[in-house]
């Protein structure tokens, strides 16, 4: 019996035939799409169809990036922005998850605070950035606080949702087996809410970067946001695009790391996509 059941359980999900082949073709197509885009952009500027003053060009942007790399400006600005974003991300996530778990344990306070959380979560919080800069100045703190207002609520709402959705069968069994409230929290609620928390962390990391960049654009003298806003102020579109490219790479790296961590921690989930 065991063998036939096992066979049934281990039927692979979909066909994995020609997986390598497909990956290669996807990769090739990706390069082709990006290459075509860059070629059209460069071509349009070189042929004089559009003015590089407005849209710069891949060559000009590369030259700008190279200069920033050589001068050390790039690494310094990226370092500042990444530092701010990660600090904001870790503090906001930790507090957001803790608050979510606490509210899940206290239905009374959940009920009391629910409308407030909803209101704050619906507010476009980047609108708070000017006020935050007024309060905290143009240093790192204002960036972290701006990002915090975004990320904290995302994690709070997601964690709360996950923690309230624990399978009641599992809760019942855990209780009857003698699990304490503490056991339930660490061994049942938290792992059960983990997929929800990770959904929050994925969005949260993007929003941490967003919050930091918005604050940098509004008031700063360093960071990728500053590079973009000062480039635009000086009509240096190449610097603006260089900033955007840098930002895209940073954001991509963030989400790539996040997916790796997620795939590791949620390996018990059927078919986690880690493309």
């Amino acid at each position: 019996m065991a063998d036939s059941e096992a066979a049934q359980a281990e039927i692979p999900i979909q066909s994995a035939v020609a997986d390598d082949n497909l990956r290669q073709r996807v990769l090739l197509a990706r390069v082709a799409v990006i290459g075509t885009f860059l070629a059209v952009w460069q071509g349009a500027v070189s042929l004089g169809l559009i003015d590089s003053f407005w849209v710069s060009s891949p060559v000009l942007v590369s030259r700008e990036l190279w200069q920033e790399i050589v001068s050390g400006d790039l690494i310094r600005n990226v370092g500042i922005t990444v530092f701010e974003a990660l600090i904001a991300f870790f503090i906001s996530s930790a507090l957001g998850i803790a608050a979510g778990l606490m509210l899940a344990r206290s239905p009374f306070w959940d009920e009391v605070l629910a409308p407030l959380v909803l209101a704050l979560n619906s507010l476009p919080r980047v609108a708070l950035a000017p006020l935050i800069i007024l309060w905290f100045g143009i240093g790192i703190v204002a960036k972290v606080v701006t990002a915090f207002t975004l990320v904290f609520f995302i994690l709070l709402v997601n964690t709360l949702g996950g923690a309230k959705n624990v399978d009641t069968d599992i809760l019942t069994i855990a209780q009857l087996m003698g699990a304490s409230r503490r056991d339930i929290l660490w061994k049942v609620t938290l792992p059960s809410a983990l997929p929800w928390i990770f959904a929050g962390l994925n969005i949260g990391l993007t929003y941490a970067l967003l919050g930091v960049i918005v604050a940098e654009i509004l008031a700063s003298n360093q960071g990728i946001g500053y590079v973009i806003s000062s480039g635009a102020a000086n009509f240096n579109t190449a610097a603006v695009f260089a900033g955007l490219v840098t930002l895209a790479v940073v954001a991509w790296l963030f989400s790539a790391v996040m997916r790796k961590v997620e795939a590791r921690l949620l390996r018990w989930k059927p078919a986690v996509n880690s493309a």
């Binding site: 019996m1 065991a2 096992a6 359980a9 069994i173 087996m177 003698g178 018990w268 059927p270």
Partner: protein, 260 residues
């Protein structure tokens, strides 16, 4: 002199009062003794409050009237010495089969829990699946993990709420036999709830027939078949078995008919 009652239900009444609807009387005046080391099965029509009674014994539910006793002490709050199984496996999907079996031992602080869990998985025939997660196991295998998990903590009493109800009929027969063979090792007291009369007779020392809602004890029918019992398929054709079956059915059929 009969063995003393391990579980005793005294005049239990349960009335649910949902906020938005009228009160529902689920169980009325139920008194029942479950002798130490025996398997007692409650059969009855759907909605007769069978499962609810298990919740009273486990302390998950406070009855509206009457009380339950285990080992002569009143049940007051959730018990931590009961093994509980139901139709859904209740496996934690983030834990492997072995880690699921370990859970109860872990929260009790048992040191060699991994070894104990392995041994129980071996007994239910899952030694090759220790490190499999829930989604990698068939429904029958999940339920076997639940059996291992339930017995691993060596519970004082077992409460079983249609534990094999969600399985296909062949797997169900296999698991019933597996359950009995595991049970034979130390003969814990079992209060079992099922719709399946074959299952009830095959497993039990006593079958209790419940009436329609509100559930009351209609009759108590002893199953005097010697243990260890032959496999269910073999037992089902024995004349004694069919005799008991027809007695239970004659009591139950009016209740089922009334319900329709």
């Amino acid at each position: 002199m009969p063995t003393p009652a391990k579980i005793r239900l005294s005049n239990i009444g349960i009335i649910f009062r949902p906020r938005d609807r009228g009160a529902v009387e689920a169980v009325r005046n139920v008194s029942l003794d479950v002798p130490d080391g025996s398997i007692v099965t409650i059969v009855g029509p759907s909605g007769c409050g069978k499962s609810t009674l298990l919740n009273v014994v486990s302390g998950l539910l406070q009855p509206s009237s009457g009380f339950a006793e285990v080992n002569g002490a009143r049940v007051n709050g959730i018990r931590h010495d009961v093994g509980y199984m139901f139709a859904r496996d209740g496996m934690m999907p983030w834990r492997t089969a072995a880690e699921n079996v370990e859970f109860g031992l872990e929260v009790r602080g048992v040191a060699d829990r991994r070894a104990v869990a392995r041994e129980w998985l071996r007994r239910v025939g899952l030694d090759k699946f220790e490190d499999h997660y829930r989604h990698e196991l068939s429904q029958g295998m999940r339920q076997r993990v639940a059996v291992a998990r339930t017995f691993a903590i060596e519970p004082d009493i077992l409460l079983m709420d249609e534990p094999f109800g969600a399985l296909d009929s062949q797997t169900r027969l296999l698991l019933q036999a597996l359950f009995l063979s595991v049970w034979e090792r130390n003969k814990r007291t079992v209060l079992f709830v099922t719709h399946d009369l074959h299952e009830a007779i095959f497993l039990s020392d006593i079958v209790v027939v419940f009436t329609n809602r509100p559930g009351r004890v209609k009759s108590i029918i002893p199953v005097e078949l010697k243990r260890p019992r032959p496999p269910p398929a073999e037992l089902a054709i024995a004349p004694e078995f069919r005799d008991i079956y027809s007695r239970i059915w004659s009591d139950l059929k009016d209740e089922v008919r009334e319900f329709e």
